[in-house]
Amino acid sequence: MSILSVNHLLGIKYLKPSDIDLIFKTADNFKKILNQPIKKVPSLRDISIANLFFEDSTRTKLSFELAEKRLSAEIINLSSTSSSVKKGETLLDTVNNILAMKVDIIVLRHPNPGASVFLSRNVDAKIVNAGDGTHEHPTQALLDAYSIREKFGNVNGRKVVIIGDILHSRVALSNIYCLQKLGAEVRVCGPSSLMPKHLNSLNVEHFSNLDEALEWCDIANILRIQLERQNLNYFPSLREYSMRYGINKKILDKLTNDIVIMHPGPINRGVELSSDVADSKHSIILNQVENGVAIRMAVLYLLALKKSN
């Protein structure tokens, strides 16, 4: 059986296309299981996993927990609000204390970019990055690409536009890497003030006009928008954002092609996405959530497999 080329899942940029293929094929099997009456398998019965969430999360945390439980892993949870980090303990000390209790895999959500890379270099456990600041959110990108593959049969050659705050988005960065590795063409759309200065170093073009972007793409992946970041507004108001970049049914009806709408959640209904689109046939948002569990099962399973080798 094939194995991953990496020992941790720190970011999509560290994966080979063959790794992504392997994760998808493994997820296919788990997805079948998830649709059976008995959804649980004993694959990770001897594995202990710690979910360390130093930043708020709802769906990612639940999705990982469910994936772990369905693989029969032992799990422990820690969130920043109840942790010793509040008492001044360093990340490394916290994690080493947990590892002393014989934990095999750490799932880490952290506000600082590179936190999971740092951990992987300094502790003896498999690390799964569940989002590190504005760096990467690899499982989100995998489940997004997996959902595109499911909808279209493959990702290769698809045109995907990511809309919103690209500057601060780990989802955008991981998606760009993942989709490009799989042969898709990726562009971004949003106000120039929310674009990285050196966007072209990622081989990504920028649309400032939403209509042009939607006319170009097969798939629009829409990001949650947030007005203020570190005491600075990068655009004037949610109202103007919505007027310029909000997607509603009227806009989609004008397009010459049918496009697929994705969103990593949680949605600001009426801001970046209107309800008549979020709940329409265009939307595969809930498929994304469903696929998230299968993808995370695949990732954890493949990393655990690697350990036992």
Binding site: P191, K197, N209, L232, Y234, P236, S237, E240, M243
Partner: protein, 428 residues
């Protein structure tokens, strides 16, 4: 109304008839004919409404446009209203003005742009409101530029409330790219100039007044140019007053950055010495500088480092000028006296043709407005003037609601005779 202008010398680099003395016939607001001699009786089809205008030494140019005027309304109607401001513009020969957003409430949303455009649409002067860059003009959060631009706002500035926060200016520049809006800023680092009331130099030392140092302007020019280089948007620097700024802008232009600049007309011939003995009529921002600055500013007009001369028309009521120097507000009314002063002090140095570029052609270029040359078939947007007329500026010449000018009693050279715009002919 049809108008025949007899023997008018056309000053317009974009006209086929530049520098020629021609008759110009205007029919239904359009330039119908330009010829050596037009017989008005032959042309006329509705004799009653026809006007033949004859004046010795008549000159005409594309209508003048003032890039920086304050009309007070809304918020400061005791100083000026849209109506009185437009009357002042007509008197000064201006067919268009851009209003600076120093108002209460701030010009920080679409409805304020709509309101000003609605209220001025019937006036003979084209009134373009600039929007604030930031909400409430307090420098923290940018305005809805797209919405305002769609409403007709061509430029964004917090005017004399120079935008201090670097991060906000960066966002403003980046955001402006998508709607091709022009960002304007008066470069003045308030942390260095905040208590200053005049130029920091020998006069401020003699009078014991707190000075505004050169570097307050220089540092923000540097900042703005750095940000412009990063954002690659469009920037206009307003009211340049120092030789250092000129040099920095010259280098930025050479680098190919999309940057333009203007100078307020009084900064071209008045100096710190004019403040003499605490004369608040000369209290302006940027402050009156030194002779050396004037020389460099004039050179900058010639080599096009500075694109535009603005009036910086700032009406202020007596109770804010007839006070101690520290407490007086900054500003001079400028529209009515602009041409008489410019012809007297500036034309001998740069020539009439270049002056017309600085007060008519270039302001529209900076704002990317359609050019309005004097050619057959074009809409008639014209200023009539006599560049040699000698006269004395009196209070009767002031149409503005405020009288804050040091020029009453000054002998002027050159006078605006009238304007033609929107099919209307206003003779002074």
């Amino acid at each position: 109304m049809n108008i025949l202008l007899k023997s008018a010398k056309i000053i317009d680099p974009n006209s086929k008839f530049n520098n020629e003395i021609m008759d110009v016939y205007i029919k239904d607001g359009k330039i119908d004919q330009i010829a050596k001699s037009i017989n008005y009786k032959e042309k006329s089809d509705t004799k009653n409404s026809d006007i033949e205008f004859t004046y010795e030494n008549l000159h005409i140019s594309p209508g003048w446009f003032d890039l920086h005027a304050n009309f007070g309304e809304p918020g400061f109607e005791h100083n000026e209203t849209l109506d009185t401001g437009c009357n002042a513009a007509v008197k000064g020969g201006f067919t268009g003005v851009m209003l600076m957003p120093n108002n209460i409430p701030s010009i920080d949303n679409r409805s304020m742009i709509d309101a000003i455009l609605n209220k001025t649409s019937n006036l003979v002067v084209d009134v373009l409101p600039a929007g604030n860059i930031t909400q409430n003009s307090i420098g923290d959060s940018i305005v809805e530029m797209h919405d305002m631009a769609e409403g007709g706002c061509k430029a964004f500035t917090d005017d004399k409330n120079s935008l201090m926060r670097n991060d906000v200016m960066k966002v403003a520049m980046l955001y402006s790219i998508d709607c091709n809006a022009l960002i304007m800023n008066y470069p003045n680092d308030v942390s260095l100039s905040k208590n200053g009331v005049m130029h920091e130099g020998k006069t401020s030392t003699r009078l014991g007044l707190v000075g505004i140092p050169y570097m307050a302007e220089a540092m923000m020019v540097d900042r703005d140019i750095n940000l412009l280089e990063y954002a690659n948007s469009r920037l206009h620097l307003s009211y340049i007053s120092t030789k250092d700024s000129v040099n920095k802008i010259k280098i930025a232009k050479r680098k190919g950055l999309t940057i333009t600049a203007d100078v307020a007309l009084h900064n071209l011939f008045l100096t710190e010495n004019d403040i003499n003995n605490f004369d608040t009529r000369y209290k302006v921002l940027p402050p009156l500088r030194e002779n050396e600055d004037i020389n460099v500013l004039i050179k900058a007009l010639k080599d096009n480092t500075i694109d535009v001369i603005s009036s910086d028309h700032t009406p202020i009521s007596d109770e804010h000028k007839k006070v101690e120097f520290d407490n007086a507000l900054n500003g001079i009314i400028g529209l009515e006296s602009a041409f008489g002063l410019l012809c007297k002090y500036i034309v001998p140095k740069i020539g009439l043709s270049l002056l017309i570029e600085k007060i008519s052609i270039n302001p529209r270029k900076v704002l990317q407005l359609p050019q309005i040359s004097i050619n057959i078939g074009n809409t008639a947007n014209i200023t009539l003037f006599d560049p040699e007329k000698e006269w004395e500026f009196t209070a009767d010449d002031i149409k503005s609601k405020s009288l804050n000018t040091p020029f009453i009693g000054t002998k002027m050279r050159g006078k605006a005779l009238g304007i033609i715009n929107k099919g209307i002919f206003k003779v002074n």
